[in-house]
């Protein structure tokens, strides 16, 4: 049996990497992906705890997270398409004005 703390620490590492990507990357899409990475890390922690505690709530919650992530991806990518269409760039540093 794998100790739960292993899973949790792995999820912590993944989360950290996600955060780093979130700060470090410049492409909107990649930043968005790093958010997904963070979500995944959290999901891992959820499942790990649910398995450790013998309760299924964690897994159910993961399902909800996934659903929300799907919705978020749909809307977010729509927005990204709009940005790319209006500003001809995907670099967040070039997208720092509210008005054009």
């Amino acid at each position: 049996m794998v100790p739960t703390s292993y899973y949790v620490i792995l999820s912590a590492i993944l989360f950290g990497l996600g955060v780093f990507a979130f700060i470090f990357k410049r492409n909107v899409i990649t930043i968005f992906m790093s958010i997904e990475l963070m979500l995944n890390a959290v999901n891992l922690a959820f499942v790990a705890f649910s398995q450790a505690l013998g309760k299924l709530d964690g897994q159910v919650f993961v399902l909800f997270v996934i659903v929300v992530a799907a919705a978020e991806a749909a809307v977010g990518l729509g927005i990204i398409i709009l940005i790319a269409r209006n500003r001809q760039t995907l670099n967040v540093e070039r997208v720092d004005l509210l008005k054009l």
Partner: protein, 656 residues
């Protein structure tokens, strides 16, 4: 109907609402129908309720309809109650009110804002009914303020006329002063008894120790404060000033509000809380003195007024003074009795005066009238009856009520009788100025241009109420007659006995036989004085009409003083109004409002702007900088969880 007592006040409210909301578009007939039916129905309901009340034979009926205010240990429900006192007031209000409504349909027929007028009038009915039906001081106060409001609206009905608008404001403000005292009184009562419900409060108060003369205990103070409210509402010294000006309003309003019903609210309140007053010698004396003084004072002013309505107004003030005098000497029955009779004949007087004004095409100055008696017979007849009544000529209503008051005053303070004699003198004055009015208006030769003004009798919608009221003022007092003649009890007193039972013994002190003897003598004296007054008036205004002017010239200072109503308004203007204006202009407006409040608010706004201007620069618009901030926040949170020993446990708790 007794179980659904709330219908009685509700009907006028409905009428008011309907007229107020839709009346503007309707023809006057509809508005009339709504107004008359609503008040009439409410009158019928009231009659039915009274019938059931007597059938049930209970001393006091009260019903809790719903909780209105419940806060902590304070609770004021929408409770209505009915006892004999309420019955009297209820019938007077609804009955007279209804008559006056009918009258008004004729009087206001050609006025603009017809629907508005009736909407206000019904609103007034609603509040007045609430006032008389209320079973606790809070609800009563609602009615109290409500009638104040509607009186304000109606006085200022012709709001385009500056004098009218000012009169409305004056009435409102002066009443505020009284209400201020009234509220303080309520607070004090609640503080002392923990309730404002009549039955509970009086039950508690009945057990208290009566407070002797000059002893200012809770009850005394409370009573004085309540009386302050009463003086405001019922136009007693020193707050009477608003009532004469209130004559700016349409005449039916003067009749209904400023003669029959609203102004008697003060008397009603004093009578309603008679138990409190009976427990405080001081309060009673104050009430009696103020009432007596007002009666005399107003009567003197009334002597010289030339405006027909002004005369009536001052007479109203003085009659109200009578009522308070009665209350002051503990004869609440007599007070209420006079209240009722006065409602009849004073309403009649006003309506008749209105009819006169109508006939004269809006002329109110008596010096420009005269000799109308032949032209408008009905008005003349009815008004003459009313005058006899108020002058105290037996066997009309006024005689009995006034007589019982004087008798009570005499009996109450055995030995010295200042109140009694002043009252008597006032009776004389009353008779005088009333007949002066009659002679100036109806009898002497015409002093107006017959070509211009063609005098005409009013329509029956106006005369009908006059006749009814005339009948009432004739028979209104007969209930007390048997007692006077010694052939039976005073039915009115017996009728009210359940309410004032406690109070009456004080009056009935002294042997029965002696009392009756005395009563007859006093009645005779009163009658005599009345006759003297009439005689003087006759001699002055019919025999040799030159005389009054000579008199006026001969005693100029007194005359001018009376003419200017003792300069009371000017006095108030100097003592109260100007300092107040100065205060509000310099301190409240310039200093507090402009400098203080506005300054603070603008300062806050500018501060916010400045801060925003400073912080703005952290908003670079660069997503990743925001991300950095998010991460920093997360780190701080984790640091707290990590370094604060208790927290990690809690986190575990969440994990579990």
């Amino acid at each position: 109907m007794l179980q659904y007592l709330w219908i009685v006040p509700l009907l006028p409210l409905l009428g008011s609402a309907i007229n107020g909301l839709f009346g503007a578009k309707w023809r006057n007939e509809f508005v009339t129908a709504i107004a008359i039916t609503s008040t009439g129905l409410s009158f019928l309901c009231a009659l039915e309720a009274v019938r059931e009340f007597f059938e049930s034979g209970q001393a006091l009926f009260r019903k809790h309809f719903f909780d209105w205010i419940v806060a902590g240990n304070f609770s004021a429900g929408f409770d209505l109650q009915m006892d004999q006192l309420t019955v009297v007031m209820l019938l007077v209000v609804t009955g007279v009110g209804w008559l006056i409504h009918i009258y008004a349909t004729g009087y206001m027929a050609h006025e603009g804002g017809y629907y508005r007028f009736f909407s206000y009038l019904n609103l007034f009915m609603f509040f007045m009914l609430i006032l008389v039906l209320a079973a606790n001081y809070v609800l009563l106060f609602v009615g109290w303020e409500g009638v104040g409001l509607s009186s304000y609206l109606l006085i200022g009905f012709w709001f385009l006329k500056k004098s009218a608008a000012d009169a409305g404001k004056k009435a409102f403000i002066v009443n505020r002063i009284g209400d201020f005292g009234f509220m303080l009184g309520m607070f004090l009562l609640f503080r002392a008894f923990g309730t404002l419900d009549f039955s509970q409060l009086f039950a508690k108060a009945g057990t208290w120790q009566p407070e002797a003369m000059g002893q200012f205990g809770t009850l005394t103070v409370a009573c004085l404060l309540l009386f302050m409210g009463a003086t405001g509402k019922s136009a007693q010294l020193p707050l009477y000033v608003w009532l004469p000006d209130a004559m700016e309003g349409p005449t039916p309003v003067s009749a209904l509000i400023h003669a029959a019903t609203m102004v008697t609210a003060g008397v009603y309140v004093v009578a309603r809380s008679h138990i409190l007053f009976m427990h405080s010698e001081t309060a009673l004396v104050v009430v009696g003195t103020v009432g007596c003084a007002t009666a005399f004072f107003a009567a003197t002013i009334g002597l010289v007024q030339t405006d027909i309505k002004k005369v009536l107004a001052y007479s109203t003030v003085s009659q109200l003074g009578y009522m308070f005098l009665a209350c002051g000497v503990g004869a609440f029955t007599a007070g209420i009795f006079h209240l009722m009779t006065h409602a009849f004949f004073k309403a009649l007087l006003f309506l008749a005066a209105g009819s006169v004004i109508h006939a004269m095409g809006g002329e109110q100055e008596m010096p420009k009238m005269g000799g109308l008696g032949k032209k408008i017979k009905w008005t003349y007849a009815t008004m003459f009856i009313a005058t006899l009544a108020i002058a105290g000529i037996p066997p009309l209503a006024g005689f009995f009520s006034k007589d019982s008051i004087l008798h009570a005053a005499y009996v109450r303070e055995g030995g010295r009788h200042p109140l009694y004699f002043v009252g008597l003198l006032t009776a004389l004055l009353t008779a005088f100025y009333m007949f002066r009015l009659i002679f100036l208006t109806f009898n002497s030769k015409p002093r107006y241009d017959e070509k211009k003004v063609h005098v005409h009798e009013s329509p029956w919608s106006m005369l009908g109420p006059l006749v009814v009221l005339a009948i009432l003022s004739v028979i209104g007092g007969l209930m007390a007659a048997p007692a006077l003649l010694g052939v039976g009890p005073d039915y009115f007193a017996n009728f009210l006995a359940p309410v004032f039972g406690g109070a009456q013994e004080a009056v009935e002190a002294g042997g029965e036989a002696a009392a009756h003897q005395l009563e007859l003598i006093l009645a005779g004296v009163a009658f005599g004085t009345a006759l003297i007054g009439i005689a003087i008036a006759y001699w002055l205004y019919l025999k040799n009409p030159r005389k009054p002017d000579d008199l006026a010239k001969s005693m100029k200072p007194a005359y001018t003083t009376l003419m200017n109503k003792y300069y009371v308004d000017e006095l108030y203007a100097f003592l109260v109004v100007r300092p107040l204006l100065w205060l509000s202009t310099n301190i409240l407006w310039k200093a507090t409002d402009v400098t203080g409040i506005d300054g603070t608010i603008n300062g806050i706004a500018h501060g916010a702007a400045a801060i925003g201007d400073g912080v703005r620069h952290s908003q670079s618009g660069n997503t990743r900088s925001y991300a950095v901030w998010v991460v920093v926040g997360a780190i701080v949170v984790l640091a707290v969880i990590f370094f604060w020993p208790g927290a990690s446990k809690t986190v575990l708790g969440w994990v579990r």
